[in-house]
Amino acid sequence: MNINLTLIGQSIAFALFVWFCMKFIWPPIMNALEQRKKTIADGLAAGERGKREQELGEQRATEVIKEAKGKAAEVIASAEKRGAEIVEQAKNDAKTEGERIVAAARADIEQEAQRAREALRTEVAALATAGAEQILGREVDAGAHAEMLDELATQL
């Protein structure tokens, strides 16, 4: 219970402890705490930024989708139009072609008929000549009566 040198010894020990604490304990721990605070704040800020960016991205995506939809609709419309045009064109072409074919066929038929008629005529002339020969009993001079025969053929 006596006050003695211990008093001074304790003061010195205390001073040394405080010095050590101030030099080697307080600063590193406070630094770590500060840094952690900063890290956490940065992380939160980054999270916030990411969220905003995501929102922006979503917005952009919606816009892009809308645009694409519009374009697709346009493409479809124009394709439909084009299709209709092609069908129309094909129809027209087919019609013309058909008409042409029909016309050609008619012409062929006409020609064929003409030719048949021509042949028939010649044959009739020959038949007539032969008939006449038999009726007359003599040779008909084909050359002399050619004119008459031709006239007959045209009458047929």
Binding site: M1, N2, F14, L33
Partner: protein, 286 residues
């Protein structure tokens, strides 16, 4: 009865005696055998037990915190580091709350004070006979294990704090400012004659106020811990009174220890907070 009283008194006295090494009146240095010899040594003596336990506990505190400080990173803390960071933030909050100036010394000082005093006080919770008994077996006669029940320890700290108070008062306010603070209030006057007349009164009042700070700081801690230790010693006396008294003593010791945890923490906290407040006052100009 007489002999029992004597042994009880001797037991208590033995527990309150520090292991003192010092200058004997005959001019030789050595250990004091008994309170009488220790008293005769006067100032030139040192309490080896107080010094050993306080330095040991201070070392424990610094070792633990240094270990944590070396591992401190901005990553996720765990275990010891977690506790140390919590403690440091707790002290830092307290210092920020009551200390408005800018001084890098105050927060580490408060941390050291709080944990050092806390650890020293905690020695009070170790049953009073354990360590002295071990010391006795090792041939050491006296062993007082709670440094804060030695006024040398508490005054050692409070005088160091007092020195800091004076140093910062002089540094921040200047010698004239500090002198003015001690002499120009609480009684103020416009009249120069009255001012001079008030000076000694003011100096007396402010001087008492200033000196009472370290004294109250030291005596509060010492008084609380000494009283707590004393009650532990008195309870320990019950163990020599048979089975029934022994059981009663055990129950009482447990109850008092539980209550004492509060005192141990509270006194360490009060010492720290008041130190910070006093240093804050030293940094403020009126």
């Amino acid at each position: 009865m007489a002999s029992e009283n004597l042994t009880s008194t001797a037991y208590i006295k033995h527990h309150l005696q520090n292991l003192t090494f010092g200058l004997h009146p005959d001019g030789t240095w050595g250990l004091a055998h008994g309170a009488q010899e220790a008293r005769e040594m006067g100032f030139w003596a040192i309490h080896l037990d107080t010094m050993f336990w306080s330095v040991f506990l201070g070392g424990v505190f610094l070792w633990l915190f240094r270990k944590a400080a070396k591992r401190a990173t901005s990553g996720t803390p765990s275990g010891l580091l977690n506790f140390v960071e919590w403690a440091v933030e707790f002290i830092d909050d307290n210092v920020r709350g009551s200390f408005s100036g800018k001084n890098d010394l105050v927060a580490p000082l408060a941390l050291t004070l709080f944990f050092w005093i806390l650890l020293q006080n905690m020695m009070d919770l170790v049953p009073v006979d354990w360590i002295p008994q071990v010391a006795h077996l090792l041939g050491i006669e006296y062993m007082k294990v709670v440094p804060t029940t030695d006024p040398n320890a508490t005054f050692g700290m409070s005088l160091a704090v007092f020195a800091l108070m004076i140093y910062y008062s002089l540094k921040i306010k200047g010698p004239i400012g500090f002198a003015a603070e001690l002499t120009m209030q609480p009684f103020e006057a416009k009249n120069p004659v009255l001012k001079i007349l008030f000076m000694p009164v003011n100096l007396f009042l402010e001087g008492i106020g200033l000196l009472s700070k370290p004294v109250s700081l030291a005596l509060r801690l010492f008084g609380n811990l000494f009283a707590g230790e004393m009650i532990f010693i008195l309870i320990a006396l019950l163990y020599s009174g048979g089975v029934i008294f022994g059981l009663l003593g055990g129950a009482l010791q447990w109850a008092w220890a539980v209550f004492h945890i509060l005192i141990v923490l509270l006194q360490a906290f009060i010492f720290m907070v008041l130190t910070v407040v006093y240093l804050d006052m030293a940094h403020h100009e009126h």
